[in-house]
Symmetry: C2
């Protein structure tokens, strides 16, 4: 049992799930893994989600120190999203999650 920010966790895994388990967060990290993207580019990458949801999840991930939001004060506005050093530190985990997901599909392709 660990207490962190007034919340009790059974193990650090629970916290990790909370940080990256949101509906689009892991995939957002995936898309940002090797590039910087603007808000509208992300919108186009996720045609099945809404601006609100994307903005919300990006905001949470920024608050949690996973991504960096860089705003250019110009007209028209321009905002770029990229990974922080800590966000990048999640990449190995993400890659192993990716590999495991691929293994799962490979093993269950015939069903």
């Amino acid at each position: 049992m660990i207490t962190f920010r007034d919340k009790v966790y059974r193990c650090p895994v629970e916290l990790t799930i909370e940080l990256i388990g949101g509906k689009w967060k892991a995939v957002l990290l995936w898309e940002l893994s090797n590039k910087t993207l603007r808000f509208n580019e992300l919108i186009r990458l996720f045609p099945n989600t809404t601006r609100k949801m994307l903005a919300q999840q990006l905001k949470e991930m920024e608050r949690d120190g996973l991504i960096l939001r860089q705003e250019y004060y110009q007209i028209p506005p321009k905002v770029e999203y990229s990974l922080t050093a800590f966000g990048k530190s999640f990449m190995p985990v993400l890659f192993s999650m990716n590999q495991w997901g691929m293994d799962y599909m490979a093993e269950n392709i015939q069903e």
Copy 2:
């Protein structure tokens, strides 16, 4: 874009999150990582959840091939849950998620 079981995934990570992203799934895997547990033992380990939810998540994980449900036909009933080989193959990922969660806490302990 990958289609698997009539659902479209952006990347295998999305599938992985679906398989282990449920509220208790990752922690269930964690608890079962090195031991076999009976239903009531799991109930006692999760005082903040209900039989229904635990049974539901266990059922899904059994369906997804992550855990093994072994029923002993006796009175009183006895059911043991353990990890399948495929469930065990997720352990390295889980450990890295655990380590990363610990790192996160360590870096943010002063806030």
